[in-house]
Protein backbone atom coordinates (compact mmCIF):
# COMPACT_ATOMS: atom_id res chain seq x y z
CA UNK A 1 0.00 0.00 0.00
CA UNK A 2 1.32 3.43 -0.95
CA UNK A 3 1.67 5.96 1.86
CA UNK A 4 -0.51 8.41 -0.04
CA UNK A 5 -3.26 7.42 -2.45
CA UNK A 6 -4.85 9.85 -4.90
CA UNK A 7 -7.20 9.03 -7.75
CA UNK A 8 -5.51 10.29 -10.93
CA UNK A 9 -8.82 10.95 -12.69
CA UNK A 10 -9.25 12.58 -15.12
CA UNK A 11 -12.13 14.50 -13.61
CA UNK A 12 -14.27 16.57 -15.96
CA UNK A 13 -16.87 19.03 -14.64
CA UNK A 14 -18.94 21.89 -16.07
CA UNK A 15 -18.06 25.46 -15.18
CA UNK A 16 -19.62 26.51 -11.90
CA UNK A 17 -19.62 23.01 -10.39
CA UNK A 18 -18.30 22.21 -6.94
CA UNK A 19 -15.24 20.01 -7.22
CA UNK A 20 -14.09 17.59 -4.55
CA UNK A 21 -10.56 16.21 -4.67
CA UNK A 22 -9.34 13.67 -2.15
CA UNK A 23 -6.34 11.82 -0.80
CA UNK A 24 -6.04 9.03 1.70
CA UNK A 25 -2.92 8.17 3.65
CA UNK A 26 -1.66 5.45 5.92
CA UNK A 27 0.96 7.16 8.13
CA UNK A 28 -0.66 8.54 11.28
CA UNK A 29 2.50 10.60 11.96
CA UNK A 30 1.68 13.07 9.17
CA UNK A 31 1.05 16.55 10.56
CA UNK A 32 1.23 18.87 7.54
CA UNK A 33 -1.13 18.49 4.60
CA UNK A 34 -0.68 20.45 1.40
CA UNK A 35 -2.45 20.94 -1.90
CA UNK A 36 -0.50 22.02 -4.94
CA UNK A 37 -1.85 22.98 -8.35
CA UNK A 38 0.19 22.22 -11.44
CA UNK A 39 -0.62 23.65 -14.83
CA UNK A 40 0.68 21.90 -17.92
CA UNK A 41 4.40 22.51 -18.44
CA UNK A 42 4.70 24.45 -15.18
CA UNK A 43 5.97 23.71 -11.70
CA UNK A 44 3.61 22.87 -8.83
CA UNK A 45 2.25 25.90 -7.00
CA UNK A 46 1.17 25.75 -3.37
CA UNK A 47 -2.56 26.37 -2.98
CA UNK A 48 -3.06 25.68 0.69
CA UNK A 49 -1.53 23.92 3.63
CA UNK A 50 -3.10 22.74 6.87
CA UNK A 51 -1.46 21.74 10.09
CA UNK A 52 -3.12 18.83 11.87
CA UNK A 53 -6.90 18.47 11.59
CA UNK A 54 -9.59 20.91 10.60
CA UNK A 55 -10.68 23.13 7.77
CA UNK A 56 -9.04 26.03 6.03
CA UNK A 57 -10.69 28.33 3.55
CA UNK A 58 -9.15 30.65 0.98
CA UNK A 59 -11.53 32.23 -1.49
CA UNK A 60 -13.16 29.49 -3.53
CA UNK A 61 -10.90 26.81 -2.05
CA UNK A 62 -11.47 24.84 1.15
CA UNK A 63 -9.08 22.24 2.52
CA UNK A 64 -10.26 19.66 5.03
CA UNK A 65 -8.25 17.20 7.07
CA UNK A 66 -9.79 14.26 8.92
CA UNK A 67 -6.95 12.60 10.78
CA UNK A 68 -9.21 9.97 12.33
CA UNK A 69 -10.09 8.69 8.86
CA UNK A 70 -6.67 9.57 7.36
CA UNK A 71 -8.46 11.48 4.63
CA UNK A 72 -7.92 14.94 3.20
CA UNK A 73 -10.04 16.89 0.75
CA UNK A 74 -9.85 20.00 -1.39
CA UNK A 75 -13.12 21.63 -2.42
CA UNK A 76 -13.32 24.14 -5.23
CA UNK A 77 -16.52 26.21 -5.37
CA UNK A 78 -17.79 27.87 -8.54
CA UNK A 79 -15.13 26.14 -10.60
CA UNK A 80 -13.68 28.04 -13.55
CA UNK A 81 -11.95 26.88 -16.74
CA UNK A 82 -8.78 28.42 -15.28
CA UNK A 83 -8.94 25.79 -12.52
CA UNK A 84 -8.16 23.11 -15.11
CA UNK A 85 -4.90 21.62 -13.89
CA UNK A 86 -3.46 18.69 -12.00
CA UNK A 87 -3.95 18.87 -8.23
CA UNK A 88 -1.35 17.17 -6.07
CA UNK A 89 -1.69 16.42 -2.40
CA UNK A 90 1.43 16.18 -0.25
CA UNK A 91 2.01 15.55 3.42
CA UNK A 92 4.79 15.35 5.96
CA UNK A 93 5.48 14.68 9.58
CA UNK A 94 6.38 17.34 12.09
CA UNK A 95 9.58 18.24 13.91
CA UNK A 96 12.66 17.04 12.08
CA UNK A 97 10.71 14.64 9.89
CA UNK A 98 9.63 16.99 7.13
CA UNK A 99 10.13 14.66 4.17
CA UNK A 100 7.25 15.27 1.79
CA UNK A 101 5.21 12.33 0.53
CA UNK A 102 3.28 13.13 -2.64
CA UNK A 103 0.13 11.81 -4.21
CA UNK A 104 0.10 11.07 -7.93
CA UNK A 105 -2.14 14.04 -8.68
CA UNK A 106 -5.70 14.33 -10.00
CA UNK A 107 -6.18 15.83 -13.45
CA UNK A 108 -9.15 18.25 -13.50
CA UNK A 109 -10.83 19.75 -16.54
CA UNK A 110 -13.46 22.46 -16.06
CA UNK A 111 -15.49 22.85 -19.22
CA UNK A 112 -17.02 26.21 -20.18
Amino acid sequence: QKEVEQDPGPLSVPEGAIVSLNCTYSNSAFQYFMWYRQYSRKGPELLMYTYSSGNKEDGRFTAQVDKSSKYISLFIRDSQPSDSATYLCAMSGGGNNRKLIWGLGTSLAVNP
Binding site: M34, K42, G43, P44, L46, T86, S92, R98, W102, L104
Partner: protein, 113 residues
Protein backbone atom coordinates in the same frame (compact mmCIF):
# COMPACT_ATOMS: atom_id res chain seq x y z
CA UNK B 1 10.76 38.81 -11.30
CA UNK B 2 10.92 35.00 -11.32
CA UNK B 3 11.27 33.55 -7.82
CA UNK B 4 12.83 30.19 -8.74
CA UNK B 5 14.36 30.00 -12.19
CA UNK B 6 15.84 27.00 -13.95
CA UNK B 7 17.82 26.73 -17.13
CA UNK B 8 17.52 25.31 -19.64
CA UNK B 9 13.78 24.77 -20.02
CA UNK B 10 14.31 21.98 -22.55
CA UNK B 11 17.27 19.65 -22.92
CA UNK B 12 17.51 17.06 -25.69
CA UNK B 13 20.63 14.96 -25.73
CA UNK B 14 22.08 11.59 -26.67
CA UNK B 15 22.66 8.67 -24.35
CA UNK B 16 26.05 8.76 -22.73
CA UNK B 17 26.38 12.55 -22.71
CA UNK B 18 26.93 14.71 -19.63
CA UNK B 19 24.62 17.65 -18.96
CA UNK B 20 23.91 20.24 -16.29
CA UNK B 21 20.79 22.04 -15.11
CA UNK B 22 21.05 25.28 -13.18
CA UNK B 23 18.72 26.71 -10.58
CA UNK B 24 18.61 30.07 -8.85
CA UNK B 25 16.16 31.49 -6.31
CA UNK B 26 15.77 35.12 -5.28
CA UNK B 27 13.44 34.49 -2.34
CA UNK B 28 16.14 34.55 0.32
CA UNK B 29 15.44 30.90 1.16
CA UNK B 30 18.12 28.71 2.66
CA UNK B 31 16.86 25.28 1.56
CA UNK B 32 16.80 24.09 -2.03
CA UNK B 33 15.64 20.85 -3.60
CA UNK B 34 15.78 18.82 -6.79
CA UNK B 35 12.72 16.79 -7.73
CA UNK B 36 12.18 14.40 -10.62
CA UNK B 37 8.71 14.09 -12.16
CA UNK B 38 8.21 11.06 -14.38
CA UNK B 39 5.70 10.58 -17.18
CA UNK B 40 3.05 9.50 -14.67
CA UNK B 41 3.41 12.85 -12.89
CA UNK B 42 4.90 11.30 -9.75
CA UNK B 43 7.17 13.76 -7.92
CA UNK B 44 10.22 12.20 -6.33
CA UNK B 45 12.71 14.05 -4.14
CA UNK B 46 16.29 13.60 -5.24
CA UNK B 47 18.35 16.01 -3.15
CA UNK B 48 17.96 18.76 -0.62
CA UNK B 49 20.51 21.35 0.45
CA UNK B 50 20.29 23.59 3.49
CA UNK B 51 22.75 26.48 3.56
CA UNK B 52 24.91 24.72 0.97
CA UNK B 53 24.95 21.50 3.03
CA UNK B 54 23.48 18.29 1.61
CA UNK B 55 20.69 17.10 3.92
CA UNK B 56 18.66 14.74 1.76
CA UNK B 57 20.19 12.34 -0.70
CA UNK B 58 17.61 9.83 -1.80
CA UNK B 59 18.47 6.65 -3.63
CA UNK B 60 19.71 8.31 -6.76
CA UNK B 61 22.42 6.90 -9.06
CA UNK B 62 25.77 8.53 -8.37
CA UNK B 63 25.74 9.74 -11.98
CA UNK B 64 23.68 12.58 -10.52
CA UNK B 65 25.72 15.12 -8.60
CA UNK B 66 24.24 18.27 -7.09
CA UNK B 67 26.33 21.32 -6.31
CA UNK B 68 25.38 24.35 -4.27
CA UNK B 69 27.88 27.20 -4.68
CA UNK B 70 25.79 29.41 -2.39
CA UNK B 71 22.36 29.49 -0.73
CA UNK B 72 20.69 30.94 -3.82
CA UNK B 73 21.98 28.38 -6.33
CA UNK B 74 21.65 24.64 -6.72
CA UNK B 75 22.88 22.94 -9.86
CA UNK B 76 22.45 19.37 -11.00
CA UNK B 77 25.06 17.61 -13.11
CA UNK B 78 24.22 14.30 -14.76
CA UNK B 79 26.93 12.03 -16.17
CA UNK B 80 26.50 9.28 -18.75
CA UNK B 81 22.85 10.00 -19.43
CA UNK B 82 20.52 7.03 -19.86
CA UNK B 83 17.12 6.69 -21.52
CA UNK B 84 15.49 6.29 -18.09
CA UNK B 85 16.71 9.73 -17.07
CA UNK B 86 14.16 11.31 -19.39
CA UNK B 87 11.79 13.25 -17.14
CA UNK B 88 11.00 16.74 -15.94
CA UNK B 89 13.38 17.99 -13.27
CA UNK B 90 12.14 20.63 -10.86
CA UNK B 91 14.11 22.83 -8.58
CA UNK B 92 12.36 24.14 -5.47
CA UNK B 93 13.19 26.21 -2.43
CA UNK B 94 11.82 26.85 1.02
CA UNK B 95 12.69 28.65 4.23
CA UNK B 96 14.57 26.63 6.86
CA UNK B 97 13.55 23.22 5.54
CA UNK B 98 9.87 24.05 5.81
CA UNK B 99 8.57 21.60 3.26
CA UNK B 100 4.97 22.74 3.78
CA UNK B 101 5.77 25.80 1.67
CA UNK B 102 7.79 24.88 -1.36
CA UNK B 103 8.31 27.23 -4.27
CA UNK B 104 8.99 25.45 -7.55
CA UNK B 105 10.71 26.47 -10.74
CA UNK B 106 9.09 25.83 -14.12
CA UNK B 107 11.03 22.65 -14.71
CA UNK B 108 13.57 21.31 -17.18
CA UNK B 109 12.22 18.79 -19.65
CA UNK B 110 15.07 16.34 -20.26
CA UNK B 111 14.80 13.99 -23.22
CA UNK B 112 17.52 11.38 -23.68
CA UNK B 113 17.57 9.82 -27.16
Amino acid sequence: DTAVSQTPKYLVTQMGNDKSIKCEQNLGHDTMYWYKQDSKKFLKIMFSYNNKELIINETVPNRFSPKSPDKAHLNLHINSLELGDSAVYFCASSRQGRTEKLFFGSGTQLSVL
